[in-house]
Structures are given as structure tokens and as C-alpha cells.
């Protein structure tokens, strides 16, 4: 599929499509761990304590990232109760709010799980793996609006690859990764793919011609 200015298909788990193309690893497991640790502390520092905090991961890979951040935050706050964790993070599916549905095959929606205490008056941190055009986040903001009225919404991403098409910026970034439009950012997480890695995949000659 050629890369258009539509939202990259972060909602569909990808198989390892690096075979045959030219790819380079930009983040390994250690770097990812350190990045998430830093982001967790940034979130705590910029917020007002974890009681008002809700981390909502955007399916698919935003969800395990949100969970990892929640674990870090809970540990830092000295909380060990698993109940605390389910109140601290959740999932926000944005399929129904996308602006590019009719130019793609049918997307199956994923579950949305909002903590029982809701989002009203709290600080919501949206969590995603890659920030690109910004359209996914715009859709997420619309979805949030239908669920409640947070006091504030922030954005944490593992990778910011540039090429924004909307006035959206991340508050917490694991790594800034300048890319060209023809390149693909391939994120893998152990929860979904068995390994933690971020690769930049340059198109093969044929793909480049199509892009």
C-alpha cells in the first residue's frame, strides 16, 4: 500500500515486512525501555500527581505502551494494587472517527476501555507508537469529546516522524525521527510482535516508483 497522507495504519498489526526491503534499526529494547522511563517521569513531573491521570492507548500498539507507562508511574508512586493500574490506563479506539474510512478496506474496530472513574475533570494522556500526520490524534480528540470532558489532554508518543498535516504536537516524545514520506516506520513490541524494536524501512526500487 502506498504511503498517502492518510493516517498510517497503526491499527492493524503488521507482519514483519522488512524482508527484501532496506531497513535500519533505530531503537532496540534498551533504548525503548529508557525512553518509556523518561516519558513516565516527564508525565509525573508535568502533572499534579497520578490521582488525576488517565493514560489512554490508541490501538493497537498504543495500548501496551500505555500499560507500560502506567506500570512505571504506579511503581514510582509506590502503588502496588492491580486495581490502581486498571484505573490508571485504558484503550481508546478511534476507528469510527477516522476521516479516511472510505478510501480503505473495511477496518475492524477494537475495544475501547475507559477506567470506571471516567475521564471528566482528569488529565488524559493519549499514548500512541508513531506520530505522523496527526490525523489519528485529531480523531482521538473527537472520540474523547463524546465520552466526557477531561480537564486537559496530553500526548505521549514513542516516535515522532514529522510531516504533520494538522496543528498537533506531542507533549512527550520517545525519539524524534526525521523521515522521508516514502519511508516506513516499523514498530514492534514484545506484547504484540514478540520483540521491542523500531526500524525505518526504505522502499525497494519498485515500491519507490509507486510511492
Amino acid at each position: 500500500m502506498t504511503e498517502r497522507h492518510a493516517v498510517p495504519d497503526s491499527s492493524a498489526p503488521e507482519s514483519d515486512a522488512t524482508a527484501g526491503a532496506d531497513s535500519s534499526r533505530v531503537l532496540g529494547p534498551d533504548e525503548i525501555r529508557r525512553a518509556l522511563t523518561r516519558i513516565a517521569h516527564e508525565i509525573l513531573e508535568s502533572g499534579h500527581g497520578a490521582e488525576d491521570l488517565v493514560l489512554l492507548g490508541i490501538p493497537h500498539r498504543g495500548v501496551p505502551l500505555a500499560r507500560r507507562l502506567a506500570e512505571q508511574i504506579a511503581r514510582a508512586e509506590g502503588r502496588t494494587d492491580t486495581d490502581d493500574l486498571s484505573e490508571l490506563y485504558g484503550a481508546l479506539d478511534i476507528t469510527m472517527y477516522r476521516d479516511d474510512l472510505r478510501s480503505n478496506p473495511t477496518r475492524a474496530p477494537s475495544p475501547t476501555r475507559i477506567p470506571r472513574s471516567g475521564i471528566d475533570g482528569r488529565t488524559v494522556v493519549l499514548v500512541d507508537d508513531v506520530l505522523y500526520s496527526g490525523r489519528t490524534i485529531r480523531a482521538a480528540l473527537d472520540a474523547l469529546g463524546a465520552i466526557g470532558r477531561p480537564a486537559a489532554v496530553r500526548l505521549a508518543v514513542l516516535v515522532d516522524r514529522g510531516h504533520r498535516e494538522l496543528p498537533i504536537r506531542a507533549d512527550h516524545v520517545g525519539k524524534n525521527l526525521p523521515t522521508s514520506r516514502s519511508e516506513r516506520v516499523h514498530v514492534q513490541l514484545s506484547e504484540t510482535d514478540g520483540v521491542d524494536a523500531v526500524d525505518i524501512v526504505r522502499p525497494s526500487a519498485g515500491e519507490e516508483a509507486r510511492a
Binding site: 479506539d93 476507528t95 469510527m96 472517527y97 474510512l101 472510505r102 478510501s103 480503505n104 478496506p105 473495511t106 475492524a108 474496530p109 477494537s110 475495544p111 475501547t112 473527537d142 469529546g145 463524546a146 465520552i147 466526557g148
Partner: protein, 320 residues
């Protein structure tokens, strides 16, 4: 999936996929703002040759919750009732820019004709065609069954579940669609009807057939689905000597409902003839999910509209 015309055209995967989307839709409907922007700008036309307020409203609600615009064409007081042909009506809708047509007709095959005659190029949803099929009804029945009998598993089929369907099978599109869908998803189905109301060719269907309701219920089914029976047809059509005789033999009475397993649920597509095919007390009892079926109907129809409209039409034509 380009049209939603009959369960016979669905694969198990497609059916489960639509049901999974329906679960998702259900979830969104418990938020403070229930409207989704997914189909904004699309126009859905309800083309109803037969009166059916409840189905039409259900489709209207589903379309509106997805931000689509809805236009209602109903038979009375329109050019349809003045004898305009289905073909001319379809050409008119195409010219007016309908993005999808939901059609309900008294003629078996009407939806299929609309989808394939070449008069209109848009997705067609069958809201009931004669005695042939009512696929969204079967989907909402299945959705409801699954929530009660396989709770917590939105991807489950109905394997191992036994459903008894009772009533006028001969004239029932709900029965036909349900037999197809329930067995597609692995359920065991028993049809219960008087002999004259079982089609001659039904012996070829993948279900059991019984003329004795008590015998079928003695097997302890997980669900009993009562079909709507037209009272006038029973006596007027010479099928039964009296309404009382039908109720006695095939009605879901309080006693019969009480003998069901504790977990068993009772369904009915509506509208009900209280006291005829189903006792009022049974319809109002905790094991009745009849009211819930109505809500399920909106979720399922939202899911069907989503799968047909919120998609690349080129994919659909590639499938053709």
C-alpha cells in the same frame, strides 16, 4: 461485502466480523454522546413497500447514530402506491444520489433484484423480502443470544447452543434467516410447527423438525424463539380450526416457560400477539429478552451500515 441481502451469502467469518462490530457499536452507545461521525455525508434511503414502523425506525436510528442522513420512502401516499415499478423507483433513487438503500418488500427476491438488475449502483440492505429472508433480524437475534449464552466473548460463535424456533415457518423470513445463521455459527436448531406450516422442502434444512412443542422443550434448549403468527391466516387460511387450538398446541404458555432450564432465554421478533403465540406473563418475565432485541437491532444495523458504507467501494467491486 457489497450488499447485505441474505444470510445464505455470508461466510462464518463475515458474520462474526459484523457481530464484533456490533459489539463495538453497542459500547459507543453507552457514552454521553452516542452519535458517531463515521457516515457523515452519506444518505441512506429506507425503501419500504411494506408497512413496518419498528424496523424502519431501527434502521433510521442506526443510520442517524452514524451521522448519515436518512430519507424515508414508504408505500402509502407515494408514487409507490400509485403503481410505480420497483425499477422506476430504483432509477429515481440513483438519480437522487442515495448512498445505500434499505429495502423491505412483500416480494421474495426484491432485494436481490435491486442489487443485481443494474438499475442502481449502491449497496442494498434487505430489511425483509417476502417470506425469503430478514438477515438483520437473524443477526440481532444471534447478537442477543450470544450476549446471554456466551457472555464476555465477543468473538464467539454459537457452538453447542440449542435453539428452538416455534411458529409459522412456512411464511416466515425470520425463520429462514435464523436457521441459516444459527447453524452457520455452530448452533443446533429445532423447528417446531404444525405440519401444514412446515415447507415441503424443509426436510433438506440443517435442523431438526418437530410437530410437538412439549417434546422439543423437554430437551432443555438454551433459547426459545417464538415467531410472529398471523392469527387471521391460521383460521382463515384453513390451517387451524380455531385460534384456541393453535395456542394450546404451539403457544409458549407460563407452564411451558417454567419448565425451561434456568438459564434459557425467550426471544420474539415482534410485534407480539400476547396470549396467542406467547403468554403475556412470559413476554414480561426476566428470561424474556424481547425488549433487549430491539436495542440489539440498532447496534447490528449500525454495524451493517458501517461494513457496507465506511469502506472502499473498489474493494467491494473487486470482490464481485
Amino acid at each position: 461485502m457489497r450488499h447485505f441481502i441474505s444470510i445464505a451469502d455470508l461466510s462464518r467469518e463475515e458474520a462474526l466480523s459484523v457481530l464484533a462490530t456490533a459489539e463495538h457499536m453497542a459500547q459507543t452507545q453507552s457514552r454521553s454522546i452516542r452519535k458517531l461521525p463515521t457516515l457523515v455525508g452519506a444518505t441512506v434511503v429506507n425503501l419500504f413497500f411494506e408497512d413496518s414502523t419498528r424496523t424502519r425506525i431501527s434502521f433510521e436510528a442506526a443510520a442517524k447514530r452514524l451521522s448519515a442522513d436518512v430519507i424515508n420512502f414508504s408505500a402509502k401516499g407515494s408514487s409507490l402506491s400509485k403503481g410505480e415499478s420497483l425499477k422506476d423507483t430504483a432509477l429515481t433513487l440513483q438519480a437522487m444520489g442515495a448512498d445505500a438503500v434499505v429495502v423491505r418488500s412483500g416480494s421474495s427476491g426484491a432485494a436481490h433484484l435491486l442489487a443485481h438488475a443494474g438499475w442502481i449502483d449502491q449497496p442494498i440492505i434487505n430489511a425483509g423480502d417476502g417470506a425469503h429472508e430478514h438477515p438483520t433480524q437473524a443477526m440481532l437475534d444471534t447478537f442477543t443470544l450470544r450476549r446471554h449464552l456466551r457472555p464476555g466473548d465477543p468473538l464467539a460463535g454459537l457452538d453447542g447452543i440449542h435453539v428452538v424456533i416455534v411458529g409459522d415457518v412456512l411464511h416466515s423470513r425470520v425463520a429462514r434467516s435464523n436457521v441459516l445463521l444459527l447453524t452457520l455459527l455452530g448452533a443446533r436448531v429445532t423447528l417446531v410447527a404444525p405440519p401444514a406450516l412446515v415447507p415441503v422442502g424443509a426436510s433438506a434444512w440443517p435442523c431438526a423438525i418437530s410437530y410437538d412443542l412439549d417434546e422439543a422443550l423437554a430437551e432443555g434448549p438454551d433459547a426459545v424463539m417464538m415467531l410472529r403468527v398471523q392469527r387471521e391466516r391460521m383460521v382463515g387460511g384453513g390451517f387451524f380450526p380455531s385460534e384456541g387450538e393453535y395456542s394450546r398446541r404451539y403457544g409458549l404458555t407460563v407452564a411451558r416457560a417454567a419448565a425451561l432450564p434456568e438459564h434459557a432465554i425467550v426471544l420474539h421478533p415482534g410485534p407480539m400477539n400476547r396470549g396467542f403465540e406467547i403468554a403475556g406473563a412470559v413476554a414480561d418475565s426476566p428470561r424474556s429478552v424481547i425488549v433487549e432485541q430491539v436495542a440489539s437491532g440498532v447496534f447490528v444495523r449500525m454495524a451493517v451500515l458501517y461494513h457496507l458504507l465506511a469502506t472502499d467501494a473498489r474493494e467491494a467491486t473487486r470482490e464481485n
